[in-house]
Symmetry: C2
Subunit: 196 residues, 2 copies
DNA sequence: CCTACCGATCGGTAGG
DNA sequence: CCTACCGATCGGTAGG
């Protein structure tokens, strides 16, 4: 009986988290109210606090769950035997898949992490910088091995990540563009260029 | 005397607008308060309302001033005799210049326009879509004339614009990277590709 | 441009 | 999970 109660609470908390991600994406974290969230969940606002600690705890859970998935994937690719261009291809593919699988969560993590309370803000920023630094290292190595043109590595990685973040506007409109076309288009454009 | 008074009001209003852009960029529109803005301007909160009508009027002014500059430049490039690849180069250069000249305002226009009140939201969205549609048209024409590879035109333009928007994170950190290096790097990467 | 203050709404708590 | 309600804070107004 105690176990059943726990399971029920967990699934309700997950429902709250999913609805929070959808709400925060639409209205932003600061622009969202716990009353709106309660409406989406189907309870009164004070009842939310039987399942969660605070509004910002929701943001925290969303941001770090997303970050964990990206970090874990990065570690896998890092330890693979692929060349640097292929490694970047893998990263591009994974960002597209994440956006399709968890659009609201990825969007909120990308846009609202700045609203995290002070210590978590710094921690999240660290993880982000680490992610970028590893990709930048790949580009530097790839330039040394003549795999890439001589470009500013950090700027180039930043541009790729920005382009991937921008896919959000596609998923928001629920455009029916296939995952394969997306991947192929972005890999061609970002790695091989659009000029003939 | 009436003229002097008017000039004074105009310059105070411009000060408020500049400070509002800086504040909205840092905290977001919903996360910013008129008390914080008043502190930045150096008056009490109610005094702001001698110069402005409302908080959302500030957002409106910032967003549409930025949009006007981009639209005017687009029109110039559209009527130029340049080829499509060179036209896109001009757009890339202008986005970089705008970001350098008016970082706060461009950032706010890009991120907070969704908070515009209903009729203005739709108007802004229209202008944005028109901007994207014209660039997409160039890409379609360029593909037909074998200037570009066969790519999804809308997706390709969206990717370029996303990459340009992402430059924000560079200017936020006040990185001392030259305008010329930025332009060259982005044009190479986005038009010619990074692979050797 | 200020002081004083408004109605509304916020995140969250008490108590059952 | 609800009703009742809190202190704080919000955008904005009145009046001088």
């Amino acid at each position: 009986m105690a176990r059943i109660k726990t399971n029920k609470n967990v699934s309700k908390k997950e429902l709250i988290l999913r609805k929070a991600a959808a709400l925060f994406r639409e209205r932003g974290f600061a622009g969202s109210t716990m009353r709106e969230l309660a409406d989406l969940v189907g309870v009164e606002a004070p009842s939310l606090y039987n399942h969660i600690g605070s509004k910002s705890e929701l943001l925290q859970a969303i941001c770090f769950q997303v970050a964990d998935l990206f970090n874990r994937h990065l570690e896998e690719v890092k330890q693979s035997p692929l060349g640097y261009s292929k490694k970047l291809e893998e990263i591009i593919r994974f960002h597209i898949h994440m956006m399709q699988a968890s659009f609201d969560e990825v969007f909120v993590a990308n846009h609202e992490w700045k609203q995290l309370p002070a210590p978590l803000f710094a921690e999240y920023l660290d993880q982000r910088r680490n992610y970028e630094a590893i990709l930048t290292g790949w580009l530097e190595e790839g330039i040394r091995k003549k795999e890439f043109k001589k470009l500013n590595p950090r700027l180039t990685i930043l541009t790729i990540l920005s382009a991937l973040r921008g896919l959000e506007s596609l998923f928001r409109n629920k455009k029916n563009i296939s995952s394969t076309e997306l991947e192929n288009n972005l890999i061609t454009q970002l790695l091989h260029g659009i000029n003939k």
